[in-house]
């Protein structure tokens, strides 16, 4: 397969964006001035990380890319020493991230890494549960630290306590320091994010691999079904909504709760009811930490949390109240899911004839079940809880920049790199201390206006799925399981590039995420806000889904997503609810329009559009 040369792609600069490189870290650039680096970049295979970045990155949001660039690579290469692969390298073109696993090419070196990996990874696998318990303590302490972090405005005159307590420090210094702390906590949180994840995915992917060796035609969804029915906290926020719905009915406040789409109005109405106070107290209790859940993936500042937009959890509660009133059970059929899991596992096991294979199957399945809760739960701690709090702390920093005339609007802060913000804060505190006007008040606003224009142009650009030279073998477990880089996906990527007029497409292919066939009307929801428009029995078509979309699944009869594999949120939830899902279709939200008639075959991964 032939892919474009990265430097040629980059050289075709979009008119009006010249100089865009300064919006991102310099090491992310494909270069032409350094012949050694240039040669390496040309001979390497880079694929667009559309899984995480469906849109070009805002300069500030690049923080998480840098964080996992470091964390994934260090655990692979410097901590566990995965034998055949070092880290994953990163580049950017027009705000889109390209990544590439770096192989260990020398066979002898691979061999010398094996004992280290056996010892180190072996230690984690053997002591998984105990180490995971430690992880939870570390993670919760980190989040607590974040929540307690003070971002205080700069006073005209410091409080008298600074003098009386002989503090010896100013709010200016605190601002600089606490901004650093905020960033460092974020980076630390991502260190923990990857502590278990590589190993977790490896256990997972090689159980899948083994099952496919035994049964070449086994659908991935059947393999994942063998690991279903394990309690994970990913379901907790949705469970809280169900509890609040039940409580609303029990306390007789359900009509008031269901009476308006707007939380402020609902709150006012419920407060007037005799038992309204009790319900509102329960609602407030559920919010911390469970409403710290992002309405997107949590990777971007644009993904607001339930706590930021209470209308969204409210809409979920209203859906469940409707179900309860209609006499429909809202509990997840967990016992059924477990019974089906055990039946499927037993039947596949019974088809294994070789003793050694049976033993290996049991070991690998056990291993996959051990790692599964972490693989799911880390998302709540990092991407949802930590990030939701983090973005809002950053907004507090932005408010100070705005107060001092550095930016025009709080949401402008995302157009600055995190090190530029640090510089700007220095500009602000020195000017504040001195009693003069910061230099940045003149330079930043026009730069931000220009960057807004650049970002807009980036959004119109379509990033090639792969560039550079495809390798013969891919060994990095993430590349395989998470991004699903295979011959087939490469070919699909090439064909998406060539896809013609989206208005004439009648067939879409994706991964078979959850079995079954249904027909119905499409509802395209681009964000969690849109799920309020869902009607009973529609087919949800979304870029991707996340735990905060959970209430949507109580209404729909099938789900289709652009991005994700059989382990994605949509696939997992649909399997739990027993409804079909086709995931990772690439561009269904572009092709399908609300109201179109679809046939979704979750067993084969095919979607048929009736035009």
């Amino acid at each position: 397969m032939k892919f474009p040369v990265p430097h040629d792609v980059k050289a075709a600069t979009i008119p009006g964006t010249e100089g865009w490189e300064r919006m991102y870290p310099y090491q992310y650039q494909f270069v032409t001035d350094d012949p050694v680096r240039n040669q390496y970049e040309r001979e390497t295979f880079w694929f667009y990380d559309g899984l995480h970045y469906p849109e070009p990155l805002y300069p500030f949001d690049t923080i998480w890319d840098e964080a996992w660039f470091l964390a994934l690579s260090q655990f692979n290469n410097r901590i566990f020493q995965v034998p055949p692969v070092r880290g994953v390298d990163h580049r950017m073109i027009n705000g889109y991230v390209y990544i590439s696993p770096v192989p260990v090419k020398d066979g002898a070196e691979i061999g010398s890494r094996v004992p280290n990996f056996m010892e180190r990874a072996g230690y984690y696998y053997k002591n998984w549960d105990a180490l995971e318990a430690k992880w939870k303590v570390k993670m919760e302490a980190t989040i607590k630290e974040l929540e307690n972090l003070q971002i205080s405005p700069l006073p005209d005159l410091e409080d008298i306590s600074v003098v009386n307590d002989a503090l010896g420090e100013s709010k200016g210094y605190h601002l600089i320091k606490n901004y650093d702390d905020l960033i460092n906590l974020g980076i630390k949180c991502w260190q923990y994010h990857f502590e278990f994840l590589n190993l977790g995915y490896a256990a997972y992917v090689f159980f899948m691999d083994f099952a496919q060796k035994l049964f070449p035609s086994i659908p991935l969804q059947r393999i994942t079904q063998m690991i279903s029915g394990i309690d994970v906290i990913m379901y907790k926020p949705d469970d809280e909504l169900k509890e609040l719905a039940k409580k609303a009915v029990a306390l007789g406040v359900d009509s008031a709760v269901a009476g308006n789409r707007d939380w402020v109005a609902v709150k006012a109405a419920v407060e007037k009811l005799p038992k309204g106070g009790e319900w509102l107290a329960a609602f407030e209790k559920a919010r911390y930490p469970w409403f710290n859940i992002s309405t997107g993936t949590g990777w971007f500042h644009t993904d607001r949390s339930w706590n930021d937009t209470l209308d969204i959890p409210l809409s979920g509660i209203q859906t469940y109240i409707g179900k309860i009133k209609a006499g429909v059970s809202i509990d997840r059929p967990i016992e059924q899911v477990r019974a089906e899991r055990d039946r499927i596992t037993a039947e596949y096991r019974a088809l294994i004839t070789n003793e050694a294979d049976l033993k290996q199957f049991d070991e690998l399945l056990g291993c996959a079940k051990t790692v599964f809760p972490y693989v799911e739960n880390h998302l709540f701690y990092v991407e949802h809880w930590f990030h939701s709090v983090f973005w809002n702390k950053m907004r507090e920093v932005a408010a100070i920049l705005k107060d001092h005339g550095m930016i025009k609007d709080i949401e402008d802060v995302w157009y600055l790199r995190r090190d530029e913000i640090k510089q700007a804060l220095w500009d602000v505190v020195t000017a504040w201390a001195t009693g003069v006007k910061p230099r940045g008040t003149y330079t930043w606003p026009p730069e931000i206006e220009w960057r807004k224009g650049v970002m807009e142009k980036f959004r119109q650009w379509s990033a090639p799925p792969a560039i550079g030279v495809a390798p013969e073998v891919i060994q990095e477990p993430f590349t395989i399981v998470l991004w699903g880089v295979t011959n087939k996906s490469l070919a699909d990527w090439a064909s998406v590039q060539e896809a013609g007029n989206p208005d004439t497409i009648t067939e879409l292919k994706g991964f078979a995420g959850s079995p079954g066939i249904v027909e119905g009307k499409a509802r395209v929801c681009r964000s969690a806000q849109d799920i309020r428009d869902l009607q009973e029995g529609e087919i949800l078509v979304a870029p991707t889904t996340s735990p905060s979309w959970a209430p949507a699944f109580a209404k729909i009869k099938a789900c289709v997503t652009d991005v994700g594999g059989v382990m994605s949120h949509a696939a997992i939830v649909c399997r739990e609810y027993g409804m079909p899902a086709v995931v990772g279709t690439g561009h269904s939200t572009k092709v399908i329009k609300t109201g179109m008639l679809l046939r979704v075959d979750g067993s084969s991964g095919a979607i048929t559009i009736t035009r």
């Binding site: 034998p83 692969v85 090689f206 083994f210 659908p219 294979d357 290996q360 690998l364 013969e472 891919i474």
Partner: protein, 375 residues
């Protein structure tokens, strides 16, 4: 359609009288009945008792055969005709075969035996909801259809036989098929005495197939035991078995019974019965039906379910012929015609997928090093 009680009455008392029945229903035998009713009939009985639907029928047992031969009194004459022949001299063997078969086919069946067969045939017609039901009359050899010792095709099968007289005639022809030139030669070569071999004859309702085909409970191209593969076409299964058409092709997950792959082919030819000629004839599939799926999804699921049960019963992957009968109502019309052990993959030695890795950790490391090969 007959009532349930009529069917029950018809089934009752077919002839398991005493310890040496001359005639018996398929459901009265099982896999241990090879000596009594031969391999083919015993496997049909086994299937019925495993809960699998097969077209109903009965067998003239090996005792019935022995009774016939005794009544006819020809065994010593037969032995005399074969004495001193060379098993490689096919011309002489064929000549002896012709004489012996004529002899057998011209002898009358005793009144006792004829009454038993005729009564069973009448009851079968009642059960099938068709007067003088068309049947398949086929020999069921005591050494046929055994795993690893298959010499199928050596005995005769007669299809679309109707009426008592015709049934009697074809029962005798099946008996005489024990003395085809090839069968004689085989016994001589293997040193089996002719008077010790025995044959049974099965009389079974013809499946009047709307759709038919084959089913493997293992993937024929990669040996995957977790799938069931079904090939189907309109009409009788012979168009599928012979490879005369590209059939519709379905891959079903054996565990979940959902259809994973479906390929609808252009099916130009199918087989149907010519009742007058008592044989199946090829006909062109009407143009508008050529690209229509020849079996509905619910039937695929039920068939796969049956395939799974058959495999569980025999404890090994199976090769199955099936049909959907147009004489019978939906939900009672899917029949298994034949089930034999799959031989290719079952006998192929398979290296363990664990490839020597003793622990999960070793497997993960060796798999990491092997990586995923692109292109």
């Amino acid at each position: 359609m007959g009532s349930v009680s009529a069917v029950e009455e018809a089934r009752a008392g077919a002839g398991m009288s005493g310890t040496t029945p001359l005639v018996c229903w398929f459901e009265e035998v099982n896999k241990d009945s090879v000596a009594l009713v031969g391999g083919k009939c015993s496997s049909l009985g086994e299937l019925i008792n495993a809960g699998v639907r097969v077209p109903p029928g009965f067998a003239l047992t090996t005792h019935g055969y022995a009774q016939f031969m005794r009544d006819a009194g020809i065994q010593s004459e037969v032995n005399g005709l074969l004495e001193g022949l060379d098993h490689q001299d096919m011309d002489k063997l064929e000549e002896a075969s012709r004489v012996i078969r004529e002899m057998i086919e011209s002898r009358p069946i005793s009144i006792e035996l004829e009454d038993l067969i005729a009564e069973s045939y009448r009851k079968l017609s009642v059960r099938s909801c068709i007067p003088a039901v068309p049947v398949a009359v086929r020999s069921s050899a005591t050494a046929e259809d055994l795993p690893g010792a298959s010499f199928a095709g050596q005995q005769d099968t007669y299809l679309w036989i109707r009426g008592v007289d015709s049934v009697m005639h074809h029962v005798r022809r099946c008996i005489s098929s024990l003395y085809t030139g090839r069968a004689i030669a085989y016994r001589m070569k293997m040193g089996f005495p002719h008077e010790q071999v025995a044959i049974s004859v099965g009389i079974q309702k013809m499946a009047n197939s709307l759709t038919a085909g084959v089913m493997f409970t293992i993937h024929p191209t990669n040996g995957d035991r977790s799938v069931i593969v079904i090939d189907s076409n309109f009409g009788f299964g012979e168009s599928v078995v012979s490879g005369e058409v590209t059939p519709d092709h379905f891959v079903v997950n054996k565990v979940a019974l959902d259809i994973m792959e479906r390929t609808i082919s252009t099916k130009t030819v199918c087989y149907t019965v010519d009742q007058r000629e008592q044989k199946s004839v090829a006909m062109e599939v009407p143009f508008e039906r050529q690209n229509v799926q020849s079996i509905i999804d619910d039937e695929i699921t039920e068939l796969a379910w049956m395939g799974k049960k058959i495999e569980q019963h025999y404890g090994r992957p199976m090769d199955i012929e099936w049909a959907i009968d147009k004489d019978l109502p939906a939900a009672a019309n899917i029949f298994i015609l034949q089930a034999r052990p799959e031989t290719y993959w079952s006998e192929k030695p398979k290296p363990p997928a664990s490839a020597g890795a003793a622990s999960a950790m070793e497997y993960i490391v060796s798999s990491l090093i092997a990586g995923k090969r692109l292109s």
